[in-house]
């Protein structure tokens, strides 16, 4: 089974500052990587995903993430955050071998709070 570590449970930042949310996963032959966002009182929605190809992945709302195989990391970044980015962010990994029928392993989440 895969495991996912989100190193920071809470990240407070000021508006317009850059932010990085860190994610590491247990190594495997091949994986698919995802970031999901959960706004208050809502379900999760996909922010971006890495399947293969370019290691820099761009998602919605100006977020991007970089896949680093040697460090087994998939950190999420945004150069300038807005108050509306306040939400909980979850990193997730799927075993790309197809044996797990699409199940994802989630990290514990990082609460991003943007202050004015």
């Amino acid at each position: 089974a895969q495991s996912v570590t989100q190193l920071d449970s809470q990240v407070p930042v000021f508006e317009e500052a850059p932010v990085e949310l860190r994610c590491n996963y247990s190594s495997s032959v091949s994986v698919y990587l995802f970031w999901y966002v959960q706004y208050p009182n809502q379900g999760l929605q996909l922010l971006l995903k890495y399947l293969s190809g370019s290691t820099l992945v761009k998602g919605i709302n100006g977020f991007e993430a970089e896949f680093n195989k040697s460090q087994t990391s998939f950190h999420l970044r945004k150069p300038s955050v807005h108050i509306s980015d306040t939400a909980e962010y979850f990193c997730a990994v799927s075993d790309g071998g197809g044996s797990t029928l699409g199940r994802l392993y989630f990290g514990r989440g990082t609460q991003l709070t943007v202050w004015p």
Binding site: L46, S94, R108
Partner: protein
């Protein structure tokens, strides 16, 4: 737009009651999942299903069962609710494939067991 609907947003039950949480998706998805979400613990998989009448245990199946009689509906059952099952329950679905498909989530059911 695609939709995963959970029947209740908030639910309050007594210890020992049998509880049904219902989830319906309108996207003809093969896979359906039940997660519980607790502060500081993230999402933990309870059960999932990749076809009608099929089910697989996730990481924390104890105290739960599921039913998938129709492709669009996946029910989570608490046979005898206990206070440690107070949690947010999230249903999700995906098209299928090899784990590269995104999950679509419902808005969640906040269950309180008193």
């Amino acid at each position: 737009d695609v939709k995963v609907t959970q029947s209740s947003r908030y639910l309050v039950k007594r210890t020992g009651e049998k509880v049904f949480l219902e989830c319906v998706q309108d996207m003809d998805h093969e896979n359906m999942f039940w997660y519980r979400q607790d502060p500081g613990l993230g999402l933990r998989l309870i059960y999932f299903s990749y076809d009608v009448k099929m089910k697989e245990k996730g990481d924390i199946p104890e105290g739960y069962s599921v039913s998938r009689e129709k492709k669009e509906r996946f029910s989570l059952i608490l046979e005898s609710a206990s206070t440690n099952q107070t949690s947010m329950y999230l249903c999700a679905s995906s098209l299928g494939g090899q784990g590269d498909e995104k999950l679509f989530f419902g808005s969640g059911t906040q269950l309180s067991v008193l």
